[in-house]
């Protein structure tokens, strides 16, 4: 019954929800391409940068806040007379790495908590969700600051703190999506077989959550970038003399009048990275909903009319 072969094969091509397919479809939309381009651009600077930097990021070369062109330096000197360009090239990888790690940790922990809460219901649900409520009531940046200022400026702690601010939000979203999945008959079929809760969650429920998980991961990554560079600006990231974009903004803001570039360039790079990841996450969300693809909208309309209501349910 239902829409027959053609519609089915087109829907199949859409393969809605399989991660590779979703990312591929997101890359086809203008929005997704723009996002991906920005991410690749900034990521390339951050990863290749350290290998092509003309000078050591910590070497004192010129006078403080020397304007661009002095001693052949592209962006001039920073507050201590180091090469601003080399510091920009070397100051991104830490941010990228920390943001990825924090996102991964936060999404994994949040997704697990959300799925357990949705599947087990009852007291595990109450305990998990009330805990997330507590965390959600504290602003992310304040919480990170609090933790880091108590324990000390360790990088692992930054990752942990940021992950901890993400997890409750991810848990909420995933729980909402998983509750509906947990009601499905195939989950009951797995329970009847005698699967353990862990098996039901990982084999039956998790594969159906790839779409919200992808969207969440993208969104959380862009938040991670903002929070981590913010913490780094406040001095809780990499410690001097290491180069770091967020920290560079803070170090060099006094020389804004003489040489704005050591502040300006890291600002732009952080912004581009955040915008890029956010745009890409948005593209993924839209693809999964079928907004940005004319075909998908049309398909849903056709499916809606072809799949007439009725027959059964009775």
């Amino acid at each position: 019954m239902v829409a027959a072969s053609a519609l089915r094969s087109r829907l199949a091509r859409r393969r809605q929800g399989r991660p590779a397919g979703i990312v591929r479809n997101a890359l086809r939309s203008p929005r997704g391409r723009a996002g991906a381009l920005l991410i690749v651009l900034v990521a390339a600077i951050a990863t290749i940068g350290p290998f092509v930097a003309p000078h050591s990021p910590t070497e004192l070369i010129t006078t403080p806040y020397a304007p661009p062109g002095t001693d052949g330096l592209v962006l001039g000197g920073d507050g201590l007379g180091r090469d601003a360009f080399s510091r920009v090239l070397c100051g991104g990888w830490a941010l990228l790495l920390l943001a990825l790690a924090a996102t991964a940790l936060g999404v994994v922990a949040g997704a697990l908590a959300g799925m357990v809460a949705a599947y087990r219901q009852g007291w595990p649900d109450s305990v998990i969700m009330r805990t997330t409520d507590v965390f959600l009531s504290v602003p992310a940046l304040v919480f990170g600051l609090l933790l880091v200022s108590i324990v000390g400026p360790y990088l692992w702690l930054v990752v942990f703190a940021v992950a901890l601010t993400h997890a409750p939000q991810v848990a909420r979203v995933i729980r909402a999506a998983a509750i509906e999945i947990a009601e499905r008959d195939y989950v009951k079929a797995a329970e009847l077989r005698g699967y353990s809760s862990w098996n039901v969650i990982t084999r039956e429920i998790l594969p159906n959550l790839t779409t919200p998980l992808l969207v969440e991961a993208g969104l959380r990554l862009s938040y991670s970038i903002i929070i981590i560079s913010g913490l780094s600006y406040l001095g809780f990231g990499q410690q001097p003399p290491a180069a770091d974009w967020g920290q560079m903004i803070n170090e060099n803001r006094l020389g804004l009048g003489t040489n704005p570039w050591p502040v300006f360039v890291p600002c732009v790079l952080i912004a581009l990275l955040a915008i890029g990841t956010n745009t890409f996450a948005d593209a993924i969300a839209r693809v999964s909903l079928g907004i940005d693809r004319g075909e998908a909208t049309v398909l849903r309309a056709t499916a809606a009319s072809a799949i007439e209501p009725g027959v059964g349910d009775g």
């Binding site: 053609a6 089915r8 829907l11 009951k188 809606a304 009725g310």
Partner: protein, 589 residues
């Protein structure tokens, strides 16, 4: 009266329909899912679902073309002269408004056109009485959820008749209602249309229901009408091969031959073949059928019009198999004898099953029949272990089935097939993975053996080997249900519970699935509990039948006994209310 063609992005969904309805008559529109019957019905109100538009054609109501009217004029006519009764009253009525408010609305909106001095409350009382709704304030002041399904549908029908329309479009108004309620609703519609001289279009997938109410019937297939004529002519001497096949597949309680399904699935919009859309599945098709679309016209001296060049060809009636599946006497029965003694089940404080005792012999299929709320699904869930709060005894081959913490072996031996194949297969698992999961769980099989048995099972449920790598969204409803059956049978169970396994499927597919189940059950001598609300379907597969009413077992006997000489008054009533094709044709024709 109407030619409608709905198109979207150039793909016609419904095309070339040309029908007339006289006042006081009921035109039945019959078709399976995706045949375009709802799209057509809505176009009668000048309405198209999102993504669709009515590209061409006219709907003439007293020689006025509704489709050419400006939106404002159309709105004046909708609800006043042409009205619509949707399928599901529960979602058609606004849950946050009282019934009175909702019923007054059409009258208030069209008051100026009807009669400015109209006494709305008096009219409300009138239509409620006509629709057999008690006009007490209790009903009118209630919210929709406080009414039963039948009452909700009566409200919707009363609303449709309130303004004295000339045409009323009913879209499967009884789907989802119990047979008794369904019969009463059908009687009400029938009476209201003839008393008020209203032309009615009754859309349904259910042939026997249409046979009860319609004067004329149009059969739709792939967006076109393929046969139209007086109900009696179409039912007794169907001309189109599709109509014939549909009648062979439709379960009715009086039939004594097995159901015959239609293989294949109908083409979707945009995939219609050049010639007759049914040709690829038609046993009578010749090459001309595939090249040219036949006209809808009277052929071979019949009374109905038909869109088939082969309609005059005499069909060789294939010999029909006797309906009741005999027990295979020397089948390799391993076990599967179930005894239920004094089963009581609760949902919280609600007592669902009361003192149910039941025996299922080895290799026997017992049909469990009952209306919604009778506890038949709870019974199934108790047996399989999904519902845990019960008391009493359940023995499988003499060993007690635990209410909780069920034994590993029992989990394998007792398998469950779900009602809805659209939710029982994990959309992220391929067919192969779905079939292999229980096998890997219950048996110690290596990769090669597992793949071999999956392949064998696919062949057994009549699916091609390349389905292994498909995902459920690439499968039709019938194909999905085959996979679900395969998943239950791959671990060689001794006892299988089928919970309304065909109620989400079209009749032609239902017949195929029932036949498949019947064969598998007979072949392997599996014991079976077949849960259904449809007595007619049960007749095609079960040897014995029990009837549940409000949690009590009221009837227990062989199929023939129960169908011909029911003892309990409830069973008698249930059997009387089931739509029967022969009786209906005699009444109306």
């Amino acid at each position: 009266m109407c030619v409608a063609a709905a198109r979207r992005a150039g793909t016609p969904v419904v095309e070339g329909i040309n029908l007339e309805i006289a006042p006081g008559k009921v035109l039945g529109i019959v078709g399976e899912s995706g045949s375009g019957k709802t799209t057509f019905a809505l176009s009668l109100l000048g309405y198209a679902k999102r993504g669709l538009r009515i590209a061409a054609g006219e709907v003439l109501l007293d020689n006025v073309d509704l489709l050419s009217l400006p939106a404002g004029r159309l709105r004046e006519i909708r609800g006043l002269r042409v009205t619509y009764v949707p399928q599901d009253p529960a979602s058609a009525l606004n849950p946050s408004q009282r019934i009175r408010t909702q019923m007054r609305e059409p009258l208030e909106v069209h008051r100026s056109q009807l009669d400015p001095d109209l006494d709305i409350d008096a009219r409300l009382a009138e239509v409620c009485a006509a629709a057999n709704l008690p006009t007490t304030d209790k009903i009118l002041d209630a919210y929709p959820h406080q009414l039963s399904g039948g009452q909700q549908q009566r409200v919707a029908i009363a609303m449709a008749f309130a303004c004295g329309p000339e045409l009323i479009v009913l879209d499967e108004p009884t789907t989802g209602l119990d047979v008794t309620t369904q019969r009463h609703i059908l009687e009400t519609i029938r009476r209201l249309t003839s008393e008020n001289d209203v032309a009615a279009v009754y859309v349904s997938h259910d042939l026997p229901v249409v046979a009860q109410i319609a004067d004329d019937v149009a059969v739709m297939y792939a967006g076109r009408v393929i046969e139209v004529g007086p109900i009696k002519a179409v039912m007794t001497a169907p001309a189109h091969p599709y109509t014939r096949a549909l009648l062979r597949a439709a379960p009715t309680p009086e039939r004594t031959s097995a159901l015959v399904g239609i293989d294949g699935s109908p083409p979707s919009p945009g995939q219609w073949p050049v010639g007759c859309a049914f040709a690829p599945r038609c046993p009578l098709a010749v090459s001309e059928c595939r090249s040219e679309l036949p006209d809808l016209k009277v052929r071979g001296g019949r009374t109905q019009r038909v869109r088939c060049i082969r309609s005059t060809v005499a069909v060789r009636e294939e010999p029909r198999r006797a309906i009741v599946a005999p027990l295979a006497p020397d089948a390799p029965v391993a076990g599967g004898e179930l005894a239920i003694e004094g089963l009581d089940a609760h949902y919280g404080a609600f007592h669902v099953l009361r003192d149910v005792s039941l025996q299922v012999a080895r290799g026997e299929c017992v049909g469990v029949v009952g209306e919604s709320g009778s506890g038949k699904t709870t019974l199934a869930r108790c047996v399989v272990g999904m519902h845990r709060t019960w008391t009493g005894r359940m023995l499988l081959d003499g060993k007690p089935l635990a209410s909780r913490g069920r034994e590993f072996e029992h989990r394998r031996k007792v398998q469950y097939i779900f009602q809805n194949p659209y939710t029982s297969l994990n959309p992220r698992h391929t067919v192969g993975e779905s079939l292999a999961a229980p096998l890997r769980h219950f048996e110690d099989v290596d990769r090669a053996e597992c793949a071999g048995r999956v392949r064998a099972m696919l062949e057994r449920v009549a699916l091609r080997a390349d389905f292994v790598d498909r995902y459920p969204d690439q499968l039709s409803g019938g194909e999905r249900q085959r996979v679900a059956i395969g998943r239950a049978l791959i671990v060689e169970p001794e006892f299988v519970i089928c919970d309304e396994v065909t109620s989400a499927l079209d009749v032609s597919v239902q017949a195929v699935i029932i036949e498949l189940l019947r064969q598998m059950q007979a072949e392997r001598a599996i014991s079976m509990l077949f849960i259904t609300h449809n007595i007619a379907v049960m007749r095609s597969i079960a040897q014995r039948v029990v009837v549940l009413n409000e949690g009590r077992l009221v009837e227990n006997g062989t199929v023939d006994q129960v169908m011909t000489k029911p003892r309990d008054p409830y069973t008698v009533r249930l059997l009387a209310d089931v739509p029967k094709m022969s009786e209906a044709v005699n009444e109306n024709g």
